[in-house]
């Protein structure tokens, strides 16, 4: 029996040496650090204040190539891929025939007929099923391609030291090939692609490279980043940042239509606040007729943000003789939301934003309660007693710094 039942990423030799907390988490069959330090706080603040280095290798990655590569992707996803320029990255979701979201991810146009798609769950079979009759090949490069996210205000300065490619001209959601210098100990150069993307809602980059080059690149980034405070960060820090950025997570904020057991567990792109990514002008794509109908009648649900009012938190805790205490890590459980004693929806992830000093949550609300400013109540348990805290609907993202796009 092979000793390692779970997979380790190409960076494991580095990350495992740093993980003094011994707190690991599963992600797509890999183990990745929950936090490297004993708490995740410093790692979170590195994302917002300096630069955090995150191992995102467990993402599923596919290379789609061929004369009909764009047509294939256009058949599958809701966005208009044909319109993507070479060097452009598009975030999109894709649906089943009923117009319910199966998965979401990014598609980078690496060349005229070459795309790299990332996803949370495996999609090889789904892509191949939809490729029938098309001149396109799909290669699963999930294991052979390593990926790092370098996120935070200092990320550009750090990365620029390693390359002659001018990163200031790399715009938000663009991708470029680059050659990165090695560390002083191992100066050999590494060919990579760099995309200005991320899951933190901050200035940041994602670096895609051959798995074999992974440790060398890690060392080079750590060395170049040290003067800027580069900090390896785990999933707990990332979870807080992505909630602040209003970014949803499969299996936490929604369930894939391919796994839902009842219709109520499915969500359309409209219900996930992704109307902007649905292009009904396209010739055809999976789920289009259902989505066209839904666009006519409007979605029943909305994916929104809420802020819980501090005064209310204080009051509920004071009733028990306590000062407000909130968990330092984000939670990902379903929490009911009420309007006038009626359940109006549910929150799927939330937590205390250390930066905004607000208690925030990502929520699903029936459309009539989803307008920003609407007063809602969120269930919370204080000293074993179930209470309701006052909250209001706000626009996502909760945090949207100018540097993200600048």
């Amino acid at each position: 029996m092979s000793a390692a039942v779970l997979k380790t990423t190409p960076f494991h030799a580095r990350t495992s040496a740093l993980c003094v907390s011994h707190a690991w988490r599963r992600w797509a069959g890999y183990i990745v650090a929950s936090s490297y330090g004993l708490t995740h706080e410093r790692e979170y603040h590195a994302i917002r204040n300096a630069a955090a280095l995150l191992d995102i290798s467990p993402l599923y990655k596919y290379l789609v190539r061929g004369r009909d590569a764009a047509r294939l992707l256009d058949r599958v996803v809701t966005r208009d891929i044909a319109r993507a320029a070479v060097g452009q990255v598009m975030y999109t979701s894709w649906c089943d025939a009923a117009g319910k979201v199966r998965d979401d991810g990014t598609i980078a146009r690496l060349a005229e007929q070459t795309f790299r798609m990332t996803s949370a769950e495996p999609n090889l079979r789904w892509l191949e099923t939809n490729a029938v009759g098309l001149d396109a090949t799909i290669e699963d490069v999930s294991e052979s391609t390593a990926a790092l996210a370098l996120q935070g205000p200092a990320s550009r300065s750090i990365l620029q030291q390693l390359t002659d490619t001018d990163l200031s001209s790399l715009k938000y959601f663009r991708i470029t090939e680059a050659t990165l210098r090695g560390s002083s100990a191992k100066p050999r150069k590494t060919p990579v692609t760099v995309s200005r993307t991320g899951y933190t809602g901050d200035l940041g980059y994602e670096i895609w490279l051959a798995a074999d080059d992974a440790p060398a690149l890690w060392d080079a980034l750590i060395e170049a980043g040290a003067p800027y405070g580069i900090t390896p960060a785990g999933m707990l820090a990332l979870d807080l940042a992505r909630i602040e950025a209003g970014l949803m997570l499969l299996d936490v904020d929604y369930i894939s239509a391919s796994q839902a057991l009842i219709e109520g567990q499915t969500s359309s792109p409209f219900e996930l606040d992704l109307a902007w990514s649905v292009n009904l002008g396209k010739e055809h794509f999976v789920g289009k007729p259902a989505l066209a109908r839904e666009a006519q009648r409007g979605p029943q649900w909305q994916f929104a943000g809420v802020e819980v009012e501090w005064d209310s938190l204080e009051r509920l805790h004071a009733e028990a003789g306590l000062a407000p205490t909130l968990p330092s890590a984000a939670w990902r459980t379903s929490v009911p939301l009420y309007v006038n004693e009626v359940q109006a929806g549910y929150a799927t992830s939330g937590g205390w934003s250390p930066l905004l000093k607000k208690y925030i949550a990502l929520v699903h609300l029936q459309s009539r309660w989803a307008a920003p400013g609407t007063a809602v109540e969120m269930e919370m348990t204080v000293e074993h007693r179930r209470k309701r805290a006052a909250a209001r609907v706000v626009k996502k993202p909760f945090f949207d710094p100018e540097r993200k796009r600048a």
Binding site: M1, V5, L6, K7, R26, A28, G29, E121, P122, N123, L124, R125, W126, E128, D140, S258, Q259, L261
Partner: protein, 526 residues
């Protein structure tokens, strides 16, 4: 002559005990008559060789109905089900395919064989879950007869009709396919890894003289899948102490409810007077009267042996004669001095705590069936193996092991008939085949017990050794089980009922026939 019993249950198998317990709990005075020296029927644990205990016949628990577990409080009566962790399929090329309970571990292993299959696995599981939910109402109800105008049938059909309409098109089409296709063809639509298709399709052929390419086997696949989804929550596993513990718990529940159980009391015939059952006569000549007789024996034995065709309408007797049994399954129980060492995964490990399936390809299974079709046993049989001592160490002396091998095909109607020589020849075929994957097996064997369908018939009274009391094929299920028009546990003989696996919904240590029969009896106000 008057025993004072309201009901006599013939046979202390699990269904007889379930039926007796439900009746006793309803205040009936019940007597269970068991032919052997122990209760349990095919769900027994016996110390076949000193220190080595075996679930001699049935060997896992998966379909046991949750309502029975709850109603009869079986855990309080000593039932402890230990989980099986995996299914290992060793392959002739030295590799293996394993299916694990853990999602990540399972996906990684499947991806080693096929990325597509790893991806399809979850969606297939989801569809089967939905299908099992779709069929679930059938398992918990007396099957309505679509040819009947009885208001109860019509009401039942209406309920089912509304239920099936609520499934939606996609699920309804999938169900139609499941009802008509072979398990191999059905799985072909989902997977490309031979060993995965073969191992999954094997569920469709268990206990049946059909191959994975025989139409109709896809449904049987679902029947077995149901245990994983709709049995007792998280209870696919091995009963601590062997499957005798299931029936020991049931017997304890029956006694606690006030039922009497008599062992070594073989029933010779059902006493019939003026078209109604009035009691039974034992082999000893003793007659015991009761207001009702409920038979846990199969239909052939009940009607043709115990009642006698002369008391039955001719058409009914003919229908019973036509019930297909065709036992095809054998058991090989091994006492081992050491663990089998599989070439594909040497040494001890988690893979020995689950099931081991000898099903490398669909062709392999179909070839095994080909031989049986023409009256020979499979020289390279399909096998479903567990090592109970790895799960419950008390099954064997410390450091030693017991191995349970369910093997197919060993047709009841063997050319020339079953003899001691043929029995041992089949045992050799099983051991030789398995030794190709675990080379130390032969030297590890301390004792061997081989049980053919002929042995099962002789010892347990199951006709033709069929483990389900009649093949679990579509033409013998639902309102056709055991005979058209007689699927409601009632019989053409008044005051005579059936409660065995030969009635709806069938076999598999499920207990549902016993419970539903008891409910039918109580509903009749008998």
């Amino acid at each position: 002559m008057s025993s004072g019993y309201d009901a006599i249950v013939i046979g202390g198998g699990h269904n007889g005990l379930v039926c007796a317990t439900y009746l006793a709990r309803a205040g009936k005075r019940v007597l269970v008559l068991e032919r052997r020296e122990r209760v349990g029927g095919a769900a027994v644990t016996e110390e076949v060789f000193p220190g080595f205990k075996f679930s001699v016949y049935s060997y896992v628990v998966s379909l046991l109905r949750p309502e029975i577990m709850r109603d009869l409080d079986l855990p309080r009566h000593g039932l402890h089900i230990l989980p099986l962790e995996s299914t290992l399929t060793p392959l002739p090329n030295g590799d293996y395919l394993a299916q694990w309970n853990d999602h990540d571990q399972n996906r990684r292993e499947l991806a080693r064989h096929s990325l597509r299959d790893a991806e399809a696995y979850d969606e297939f599981g989801r569809l089967m879950h939905l299908m099992a939910r779709a069929v679930k109402p059938l398992l918990g109800m007396v099957p309505p007869d679509p040819a009947s105008l009885d208001p109860r049938d019509l009401a039942g059909l209406f309920r089912l009709g509304s239920h099936f309409r609520s499934l939606g098109a996609t699920q309804f089409y999938a169900l139609a396919k499941l009802l008509t296709m072979s398990s191999a063809d059905y799985l072909d639509e989902w997977f490309e890894t031979e060993a995965l298709k073969a191992t999954k399709s094997a569920s469709g052929i268990i206990g049946t003289l059909l191959g994975p390419r025989s139409p109709g086997t896809a449904y049987v696949l679902l029947h077995h899948y149901m245990g994983e989804i709709d049995g007792v929550f998280r209870a696919w596993g091995f009963a601590k102490g062997g499957n005798g513990s299931v029936t020991a718990a049931l017997a304890a529940a029956a006694s606690a409810a006030g039922a009497d159980i008599r062992l070594q009391a073989p029933v010779a015939r059902v006493l019939v007077n003026a078209g109604a059952a009035t009691g039974v006569a034992l082999d000893s000549g003793e007659e015991i009267r009761a207001r009702l007789v409920i038979s846990g024996a199969d239909a052939r034995r009940t009607f043709l042996d115990l009642v006698g065709a002369e008391h039955l309408p001719a058409e009914f007797a003919e229908a019973i004669r036509r019930v297909r049994f065709r036992g095809a399954s054998a058991k090989v129980n091994l006492a081992l001095g050491e663990l089998p060492d599989f070439a594909c995964l040497p040494g001890n490990g988690a893979h020995l705590r689950g099931a081991i399936s000898i099903s490398p390809s669909v062709d392999y299974l179909e070839r095994a069936y080909d031989e049986a079709k023409y009256g020979e046993f499979s020289r390279r049989p399909y096998m479903d193996i567990i090592i109970p001592s790895m799960i419950d160490p008390s099954m064997a002396p410390p450091g030693k092991h017991v191995m349970s091998i369910f093997a197919q095909y060993a047709p009841y109607q063997l050319n020339g008939g079953w003899t001691d020589t043929r029995r041992e020849a089949f045992g050799d075929a099983v051991v030789d085949t398995l030794a190709e994957y675990a080379p130390n097996l032969k030297s590890a064997i301390l004792h061997r017990q081989v049980i053919t369908p002929a042995d099962i018939e002789e010892r347990l009274g199951l006709s033709e050794g069929n483990i389900f009391q009649g093949e679990l094929t579509l033409q013998q299920m639902f309102f056709l089980r055991p005979a058209p028009g007689w699927a409601r546990y009632r019989t053409p003989v008044r005051a005579l009922y059936q409660c065995g696996a030969g009635t709806h919904p069938g076999g598999g240590v499920m207990g549902a026939p016993g419970r539903l029969a008891a409910l039918a009896v109580l509903k009749d106000g008998a």
